[in-house]
């Protein structure tokens, strides 16, 4: 019995390791190692290809896999020898890797052999000479064109929604196979927002002054700026062996929780709006703005742009700002409590949310869901508790979970997190540690690998960076929580009424550009 998973190297969130400490396995061994790991309760947080040219003596394309062991509070990683042509797919047995394998196929032209549904993810040209589908290198690739899963029969009809939607939201294409009002299957095709983010980070020197990478990281998903920027800053710090001060860590955490508060409040309002429940919808729209304004006190920008910097934060908090934050937080807390309580007190709202878009714990495990969606299905997955970095190593927030996995559960988890985030921010503000807001960060080390995990409001934000000999990024991999969770939304719709789709969609509220990169 081979146990490839045991050969994976242990990692710690936000600590760089030498590339050579990662075991070099054959692609088959890596795949079976991933399978064994999932069987033992681990989950895949990143699985991607990388170009080995740029490391001394390196050549070809290799694969890197990072798994999280939530129970043991650790990470493990391994990589492969250069892969030629294809690698074995394990997506049939372990659906959580299916999108990762498709992404590798699209980016590097390596075919995951035996993949059950090998379609492009973002509809762009391969980064290498080979194309997994044998397409012409120069012909344009129209997005979302190609096969969709179809259900045949006289009474089955197909409904296509998007990429242009009735509201002001991002583009995405949804293909429903329906029997009357019942959805048999939903397939989601994204990629319209692809802007080549990972490719534009690769080859750039890491963490140097004047580097644009922090600006890029902030806009990976515009509503998750703080989380992505924090993950990126921690990559810089880990590569340079620098460390942000406890004060900076605290300020980052406060900004992160404010981001969570604004988005969760907005989401609860949007859920209320979708079911035509006016009061919560209108009030939460305003209160979301109040939380955004708190972020503006912290950094001058309502969405937290420009706040997180390598080595700390860009702006220290003075005493007047601290007082303003505390008093306005208390006011917003009062308002949000009233607005959200209206939801739970209204029987028509409860009847509407209950049992809509149910996702069982088993499916959530199988698909490797993260964040609010996973916690609403009873999985206590939270990077702040499982793989903490920064101030989370010392300060704990209880993980909010619910059991039922329906829209109500996802709404309720948000409400619990709103309460806990407010309490956390208040506690942090009342005991701000001293120290500098920003420490200097030196040059990045060569030939390293670092994984950083930050629990954004939507779920776990994962950045993986590999540096080459020059200390510049050999590969920069971003996994937004949406990348894991879109398939959860598709599964939640099975057997539901098609008219429940907008509500289910809101309850996940996933990012299109976070997925499309």
């Amino acid at each position: 019995m081979s146990t490839h998973i045991d050969s994976f190297a242990p990692l710690v969130n936000g600590k760089a390791v030498d590339l050579s400490s990662l075991p070099l396995l054959a692609a088959e061994a890596l795949a079976s190692g991933i399978g064994e790991g999932i069987g033992k309760g681990k989950r895949v947080i990143a699985y991607f290809g990388t170009n080995y040219e740029g490391i001394a003596g390196g050549r070809g394309i290799g694969l890197v896999a990072v798994l999280a062991d939530d129970a043991a509070n650790g990470l493990v990683a391994a990589r492969t020898l250069p892969v030629e042509g294809g690698f074995p797919s394990i997506a049939t047995a372990f659906p959580q890797v299916q999108l990762f394998e498709r992404e590798i196929a699209e980016q590097y032209g390596l075919v995951p052999e035996g993949h059950p549904w090998l379609k492009p993810v973002r509809y762009h040209h391969s980064w290498t000479e080979s194309d997994a589908w044998g397409r012409d290198r120069h012909a344009p690739i129209p997005p979302a064109v190609g096969d969709f899963y179809r259900v045949e029969g006289d009474e089955v009809h197909e409904v296509a929604v998007g990429p242009v939607h009735a509201g002001i939201i991002e583009p995405g294409h949804f293909r429903f196979q329906c029997h009357g009002e019942t959805v048999f299957h939903l397939e989601i095709a994204l990629g319209y927002q692809h802007r080549g983010l990972e490719a534009s980070l690769a080859g750039k020197p890491a963490g140097l002054p004047g580097n644009r990478s922090m600006r890029l990281a902030e806009t990976i998903a515009g509503d998750t700026s703080i989380a992505h920027a924090t993950a990126h800053a921690q990559v810089h710090e880990a590569l340079a062996g620098a460390r942000s001060s406890p004060r900076a860590d605290t300020l980052r955490a406060i900004a992160l929780e404010l981001e969570r508060l604004a988005n969760h409040t907005g989401d609860l309002g949007a859920i209320a709006g979708d079911i035509g429940y006016l009061p919560t919808s209108s009030y939460c729209g305003r209160i979301r703005g109040d939380f955004l304004n708190l972020t503006a006190i912290l950094c001058g920008n309502r969405f937290g742009r420009g706040y997180v910097a390598s080595g700390g934060v860009d702006h220290d908090l003075d005493e007047a700002e601290r007082g303003a934050l505390l008093s306005r937080l208390a006011a917003a807390e009062k308002d949000v409590t009233v607005a959200v309580s209206l939801l739970w007190d209204s029987s028509s709202v409860m009847a509407r949310l209950e049992d809509t878009g149910r996702l069982t714990r088993e499916v959530a495990v199988e698909l490797g869901l993260v964040g609010v969606a996973a916690r609403a299905s009873g999985l206590a997955r939270d990077a702040r508790a499982d793989n903490p970095s920064g101030i989370w190593r010392f300060a704990h927030v209880p993980v909010a979970t619910a059991e039922s996995g329906d829209v109500l559960a996802r709404a309720h988890v948000r409400w619990l997190e709103i309460q806990r985030s407010i309490a956390f921010i208040r506690e942090r503000l009342e005991g701000m540690p001293g120290g500098k807001a920003r420490n200097p960060v030196g040059a990045p080390a060569a030939s390293r690998l670092v994984v950083t995990l930050v629990e954004g409001w939507r779920g776990e934000v994962c950045h993986v960076a590999l540096t080459g000999d020059e200390g510049s990024f050999l590969r920069y991999k971003v996994v937004d929580p949406s990348f894991h969770n879109w398939s959860g939304l598709a599964r939640a719709l099975r057997g539901q009424e098609i008219s429940d789709f907008p509500l289910c969609n809101k309850s996940f509220n996933l990012s299109y550009c976070g997925h499309d990169l």
Binding site: H157, E158, V159, A160, V161, A166, G167, G180, E181, A272, D274, I275, G276, Y277, L278, P279, S281, S282, Y283, R286, S346, S348, V349, A351, R352, T356, E497, I498, S499, D500, F501, P502, L503
Partner: protein
């Protein structure tokens, strides 16, 4: 004569104001100032002055939809007595014409929706006729119960009731008919909890999704017909829930207007304090209307 002129002035001018009032009530609950009362009128006038975009897949049916719907509801509106003022066109059996004018409007609205060939509009049309299977009989049974109560077979007679008003002995069936007509009103005018007139989510719509492709004056006609439908059905309901008259024409017109305002406010409050039903629950709600109307009828013929 004066009353007939006022009748038609009411029928033509008041309906969009009811929508305006509903929106104002909802705004108050939402903590907003809300649009002016005349906003629906402004929208209709604005749309009347715009151009029309026609899809190349549509035929004359697409244009006939809003036109026939508007005409049918205007005719239906002229058959109903408003407050104590009788319709000048009443005849024995006009309740059948009345009910089927709504049927005709529905037929043309759904046909125009299907004419576009859009999956969304087809879905809306399917929902509309599915729910109509329940709301139409409820409406019919309500009218029949009223006919039985008043002994008249024309809308003037059955809605105004016997001389001296309905007797207190008939309170129970009247309450049931009032409930049934109230539910039918909410369903037919696509209000919460059945439909949400403000949503932008195609997949959840019933009525709105059927008119997505209409533009310009056609969309104006659709909006105006929706307001007329609300007005006509509200004035029917008023006879059951507010069967009072003063005897002085001017005061009776004011009372009638107050009644319409009252119904608008009630609808606005309902929309503000409750969420929509999930689509699968709507038939149960309409079955409730059917049962109320049926029970009223059974009570009367036992």
């Amino acid at each position: 004569m004066i009353d007939t002129i006022i009748r038609f002035a009411f029928l033509l001018l008041v309906p969009p104001l009811m929508l305006g009032l509903i929106n104002r009530v909802k705004s108050v609950f939402a903590g907003r100032k809300g649009p002016p009362l005349l906003q629906s009128w402004r929208d209709i006038v604005k749309l009347a002055g715009k151009g029309i975009v026609l899809s190349s897949t549509t035929s004359w049916v697409f244009i006939a939809g809003p036109a026939v719907t508007l005409a049918a509801i205007l005719v239906a509106g002229s058959l109903v007595p408003y407050g104590p003022f009788r319709s000048p066109f009443g005849f024995a059996g006009d309740l059948v014409l009345f009910a089927y004018l709504f049927g005709l409007a529905r037929f043309f609205t759904t046909s125009a929706a299907l004419d576009t060939g859009s999956a969304f509009e087809g879905m809306g049309a399917s929902r509309e006729v599915t729910f109509a299977i329940l709301s139409e009989p409820a409406f019919f049974l309500s009218l029949l119960a009223l006919a039985r109560l008043s002994g008249a077979l024309d809308l003037n007679g059955l809605l105004l009731g016997p001389e001296g008003g309905f007797s207190t002995a008939t309170a129970a069936p009247l309450v049931l008919v009032g409930l049934a007509l109230g539910i039918v009103l909410l369903a037919e005018t696509s209000r919460i909890p059945v439909d949400d007139p403000n949503t932008h989510l195609e997949l959840t719509m019933i009525h709105e999704v059927m008119v997505l492709d209409h533009s310009g004056p056609l969309l104006g006609a659709v909006l105006y017909s929706a307001a007329l439908r609300l007005f006509v059905l509200s004035s029917v309901l008023l006879h059951v829930v507010m069967p009072f008259r003063i005897g002085v024409a001017a005061l009776d017109w004011i009372l009638f207007a107050a009644g319409l305002a009252g119904i608008s406010i009630v609808i606005g409050v309902i929309e503000s304090v409750m969420a929509r039903f999930r689509m699968g629950r709507v038939p149960w709600f309409l079955t409730g209307a059917l049962l109320c109307a049926g029970s009223a009828f059974v009570l009367l013929v036992r």
